[in-house]
C-alpha cells in the first residue's frame, strides 16, 4: 500500500466506520427510521418535499466542497514535493460564490413560502378542537356550537413498572394514552392550542403539526388527514419534570364512526351529570377513587401513596385531617408547587371518589365518605 493510499484510508476511516455502522443498524432493525416521514397530510408531503430538496442541495454543495478539499489533501501535500502557490484572492471567484448561493436560496425560498402560506390558512374548518397542555397531560375539548362541549383528558397509559424496567415494555411504550383524540378523516380539523400552566408544544409528526401551547394565548393550526389510522406524537417543549411522559395519540376514523363516537361521549357526559346527584357506598367510592388516583395522582404521589414529586399521602396530615382543607388542596391546588388545581380537571364524582380514596387508602383510616354533592357544595363555597 502506497503512502497516499494509507493516508487516504486513515482519513476516510472515521466517516466510513460511522456510516456503515449506521446503515447496518438501520437495515438490521427495521424499526430504526432515519428520515422524516411524509406523513398523512398534504402539508406533510409538501414539508417532506422541501426537506428533501434542501437536503439534496446541501448534499450536492457538500460533495463539491469536500471533493475539492480532499483533492487538495491528496495531491497538494508537502510530502509530494509540491511548491505552494502564492495566490490569495480573486475578485471574480469571490463574487461568484457569493452570488450563486444567493440565487439558489431565492429559488429555495419560493416553495418554502408557498408551503408556509398553506400552513397558515386556518380558515373554513369542519371541526374545532381546543387542545390544552397541562403538566403533564393533554385536554381535548370538542367545540360544539349547538350543545355541550365534549371534553376529556388524555394521560400517559404506560405502566410505571415498564418505565422502571420491572415489566417488559409494550410496543407503544411511552406513546400510548388512556383516551386518544379522535378526529374524522378527510376533514379540515382546526386545533386551537393553549396551555394551563407552562409552555408545551403539541407535535404529531405524521400530521406535520407542531404548535406551541402557551398559557394565556390561543394558537391555531390545522390538519386534513388523508388516511385513517392511529398516529402518535409527544410534547415537544420542555414543560417540567414529566415532559417526556405526555404523549399524544390521534385516532383518525371515518366520519360515521366519528359521529357515533362523539354521540357516545355526549351520552357519557350526560350520565356523569346524573351520577352527580347520587349517593355512593364507601366501596363504590374506593373502587372509583383507586382508578382516578392511578390516572391522575400516582405519577407524583406514588403507587402506594409514598410520595415522590408530591408529598406522601400515606399519613399525610392533610389527607388524614380536616376534610374541608383536604378538598381545598385538591380542588384549588397549592400555588407555586406542582400540585395543580384539580377542580376543573375532575368531575365532582371523580373528585369525591379520589378524596375518599386518599383518606382511607395506604394505611390512612379516616373511613369517611365524600359524596359528589359535598364537592359541589364546597366548590360553591
Amino acid at each position: 500500500m502506497s503512502f497516499q493510499a494509507k493516508r487516504l484510508c486513515k482519513l476516510t476511516l472515521g466517516p466510513v466506520l460511522m456510516l456503515t455502522s449506521a446503515l447496518v443498524l438501520a437495515a438490521g432493525g427495521e424499526t430504526s427510521q432515519v428520515n422524516m416521514s411524509p406523513g398523512v397530510t398534504e402539508v406533510g408531503k409538501n414539508i417532506y418535499d422541501l426537506h428533501m430538496i434542501i437536503l439534496g442541495i446541501c448534499t450536492v454543495i457538500g460533495l463539491g466542497v469536500f471533493g475539492v478539499m480532499f483533492y487538495s489533501i491528496i495531491y497538494h501535500r508537502k510530502s509530494r514535493g509540491v511548491a505552494p502557490a502564492t495566490f490569495h484572492e480573486s475578485t471574480a471567484v469571490e463574487i461568484a460564490w457569493t452570488v450563486v448561493p444567493f440565487l439558489i436560496l431565492i429559488l429555495m425560498a419560493v416553495p418554502a413560502t408557498s408551503t408556509l402560506l398553506q400552513i397558515y390558512d386556518n380558515d373554513d374548518a369542519d371541526l374545532d378542537i381546543l387542545v390544552t397542555g397541562y403538566q403533564w397531560k393533554w385536554k381535548y375539548e370538542y367545540i360544539n356550537e349547538n350543545g355541550e362541549n365534549v371534553s376529556f383528558f388524555s394521560n400517559l397509559k404506560t405502566a410505571q413498572g415498564e418505565i422502571h424496567n420491572l415489566e417488559a415494555k409494550g410496543e407503544h411504550y411511552l406513546l400510548e394514552v388512556d383516551e386518544p383524540l379522535v378526529i374524522p378523516v378527510d376533514k379540515k380539523v382546526r386545533f386551537l392550542v393553549t396551555a394551563n400552566d407552562v409552555i408545551h408544544s403539541w407535535w404529531v409528526p405524521a400530521l406535520a403539526v407542531k404548535k406551541d401551547a402557551i398559557p394565556g394565548f390561543i394558537n391555531e393550526t390545522w390538519a386534513r388527514v388523508e388516511q385513517t389510522g392511529v398516529y402518535r406524537g409527544q410534547c415537544a417543549e420542555l414543560c417540567g419534570t414529566n415532559h417526556g411522559f405526555m404523549p399524544i395519540v390521534v385516532n383518525v376514523v371515518d366520519q360515521s364512526e366519528f359521529d357515533q363516537w362523539l354521540g357516545e361521549k355526549e351520552k357519557d357526559a350526560a350520565a356523569v351529570k346524573k351520577l352527580m346527584a347520587q349517593n355512593f357506598t364507601l366501596d363504590e367510592l374506593m373502587a372509583r377513587g383507586k382508578s382516578v388516583y392511578a390516572r391522575n395522582c400516582q405519577a407524583c404521589h406514588g403507587a402506594n401513596g409514598e410520595g415522590g414529586v408530591g408529598k406522601a399521602i400515606a399519613g399525610s396530615p392533610i389527607a388524614t385531617g380536616d376534610l374541608a382543607t383536604h378538598m381545598d388542596v385538591v380542588i384549588h391546588g397549592v400555588p407555586g408547587t406542582a400540585m395543580q388545581a384539580f377542580g376543573g380537571q375532575l368531575n365532582d364524582v371523580d373528585m369525591a371518589a379520589v378524596l375518599t380514596y386518599q383518606r382511607s387508602a395506604f394505611g390512612n383510616n379516616m373511613g369517611d365518605k365524600v359524596q359528589p354533592i359535598d364537592v359541589f357544595n364546597h366548590k360553591k363555597g
Binding site: G14, I47, I119, I163, H164, H172, C235, C239, T241
Partner: protein
Amino acid sequence: MGDYHHGPAKGLSRWLFTTNHKDIGTMYLWFSFAMFILGGSFAMVIRAELFEPGMQLVDPAFFNQMTTLHGLVMVFGAIMPSFVGLANWLIPMMIGAPDMALPRMNNWSFWILPPTFLVLASTLFMEGGAPAFGWTFYAPLSTTYAPPSVTFFIFSIHVLGLSSIMGSINIIATVMNMRAPGMTYMKMPLFVWTWLITAFLLVAVMPVLAGAVTMMLMDIHFGTSFFSAAGGGDPVLFQHVFWFFGHPEVYIIILPAFGVISQVIPAFSRKPLFGYASMVYATASIAFLSFIVWAHHMFTVGMPVAGELFFMYATMLIAVPTGVKVFNWVTTMWRGALTFETPMLFAIGFLILFTIGGFTGLMLAIAPADFQYHDSYFVVAHFHYVMVAGAVFSMSAGIYFWLPKWCGRMYNEAMGKTHFWISFIGFNLAFFPQHFVGLAGMPRRIPDYALQFADFNMMSSIGAFIYGASQILFLYNVIATIVAGKPVSDEKVWDGAEGLEWTLPTPAPYHTFETPPLVK
C-alpha cells in the same frame, strides 16, 4: 516599580493579583477546561440515562437539572472563557502590544468567574434542586414554576454577563489603541478581527440577557408580570428577549473559532489565507445579520406569517457569508503544500463538521420544515456540530498550535493525532445518529424514549463516552508537554506560521513587545 523587567511573583499571589495577560490567559484556559470536564460529566450522566429505554440511573427531575446545567456550563463556563483565554494570550502578541489595555479589569473579569460557577454548581445541593428549565430557561417554567434556586441562577447570569462585558471592553480597547505602528486594521490577523467583532456583539447583547433575567427576578420576587399571562404579561416576550441575546450568542461562540481556523489552515498549507478582505467582510455581515434572525428559534410560537417569512429569509441569508468563509478556507488549502500535524487535523475536522452543521442550519431556516425539526433531536445534532465540532475542535486546534510557543515545549504528536481521531470518531458516532432520531420524531430534553429510537440512542451514548474519554488523553498530553515536552527554541515553531507572535522568542517571555515592533 524599580525593576520594570521583573518576572512573575511567587506563589498564589502571582495568580490572584496578576495583571499579566499571559497569566490571565492561562487561568482562563485552565478554568474553562475544568468547566469543560464538569459540563462533560453532566453530559455523561445524560447519555448514560439515555443509553437504553426506561429510567435507570436518575429520576426525570434530576435529568432536567443535568441538561440545564450541562448547557449553561458548556456555553458560559467552557466555550466562552476558553476563547477569552486565547484572546488574552494572543491578541497582544498578535498586534505587537505589551499587554491588554486594561490589565486590572482583566484580572477582575477572570476572578469573578470561579465563584460564580461555584454558586451555580451549588444549586444542585439546594432544596428543590438546581434549575431544571433548560439553558434557554423559558418563562413561566423558569419563573412561576421554578425551584427556589432560580434566584442563584439569575445572580450567576448577572455576574457572568459582567465578566463578559468587562472582557469585551478590554479587547475592544486593546485592539483599537494598542496596535503596533504600521499594524493597520486590514493587516490584523483574522483571529484579532473576529474577536474584535465578537467583543462588539458581546457588549451589545449581554445587557439584553441581563434584562431578561432581571425581569424574571422581578416576576419571581417583586410581583410583576412581565412573562405571566395571568397578570397581563406575555410568555413569548421572554423568548424574544432571550433569543435577541441567544442568536448573537451562538456567533459569539463561533466567530473566534473562525479566527483560529483562519490562522491554522494557512500555516499548514504554507500559503496565505485566501480572500482576507472577504473574510473580514463576511464576519462583519454575519455579525450584523445575527441581530435580525433571532425568531428563527420561535417559528412554532405562533408568530404572524409576515414575521415568519422575514425571519426565514434573513436566516437563509446568513448561509451566504458562512459559505464564503468555508469556500475561502478550502481555497486556501488548494495548491498549498499541506502537512497534517494535530492542529491541521483538528482544523480539517472543523471544516468538514462545521460545514455539515451549517447545512443543517440552513435546513432549519426553512420555516415550514422547521415545524418538523424544531425541538427534536435534529436541532440537538445541528448545534453540537457547530458548537462541539466547530468551537471545541477549533479550540483544540488552537491549543496544539500555540502551546509550543507558550511553553517552549512540543506536545507529543502521536498522542495529539490519536486524540484527534478518537474525538472525531466519537463525536460523529455520538451526534450523527441524532439527526436520524430527530427526523423520526424524537423530541429533545426527554429522559426516556419510545422503543423505535433505541438503537441510535445507544450508538449515540457509546460515541459520547468515546468522545468524553478522548479528552482525558488531551489533558494528559497538555500536562506532559508543559512538564516534560521536548524543548523547542525555534521562534516560528511551525515553518508555515505567519504573524508577530511567531517573531517572539520561544517560549514567549513573561513580558513581550515592551517596545512595539514596526509592522511593514
